[in-house]
Symmetry: C2
Subunit: 136 residues, 2 copies
Amino acid sequence: MATTTAAQRREQARHAYDAFMRDCPTNQLLGRLSDKWVSLVVAALSGGPRRYSDLRRKIAGVSPKMLTQTLRTLERDGILTRAVTPSVPVRVDYELTPLGRSLAGLLTAVKDWAEEHIEEVHAARERYGAEEAAAG
Amino acid sequence: MATTTAAQRREQARHAYDAFMRDCPTNQLLGRLSDKWVSLVVAALSGGPRRYSDLRRKIAGVSPKMLTQTLRTLERDGILTRAVTPSVPVRVDYELTPLGRSLAGLLTAVKDWAEEHIEEVHAARERYGAEEAAAG
DNA sequence: GGTAACTACTTACCAGAAGATACCAACTCT
DNA sequence: AGAGTTGGTATCTTCTGGTAAGTAGTTACC
């Protein structure tokens, strides 16, 4: 009976690592995931594969440097795949892996939260500013 | 019949804003939420109110500068409240607002994902490194 | 009475990361 | 021949985050 189910192993993993610890590798991983460009790239790819220039147009304001950098680290971490088609001109497609798709739901949820609650946040900022002025 | 339900207004809000746009305020908000310290602070407070030094101990490796900065912006944005008790020595409690609690679930989900999938990410990095060496 | 400790910060400094911009090579289209 | 497409580098400047030290107000200790 030395069998361990996938659920048990997941439960073990949850307790073996703690992102609150500075030297825990999950702390570093959380730092990578907590990135605006990561959120936007993963959200953009959640609808299906996209090309480099396609992502550049979709994610307004991203510089080629940051887009390439973000895509490379996400590829390295197994979140997405990079497929080069040696046509003319060359064509590069990016697509989420199953691992990436499991993450996409969570990151798009945060993005959607921002879109849904921006007005409450703005209202809070105005209240904060008013209190500051009254107190100052 | 000019009535609009809360659900309808939420739906409108979802379409009025687009975090992919550089100049959309939600893009900026997403940038604030996509922060390691924000994730850790909100996750730490999701279990109930905590004091400053309590947070400092819980979130290993955070500097007083970043902790204060993070707490101030989250207070300004209506995610948490700051309550000063003028005892001796002074005591400051931080607590999530209802808005903050609605966000906490999403951010702790990302943190939990990191803890659960760190080994898959490590495996992907090793594969990537091996391919690089073979190709290089 | 001096000084060490506790609280919750603030400030100054600097390395490294992020961002904007320009440029590249290869090819097609007009 | 000149402009436009592709998927990026290279470079320069600005900004952010980490480190380390200082601050204020009170109390406990010797």
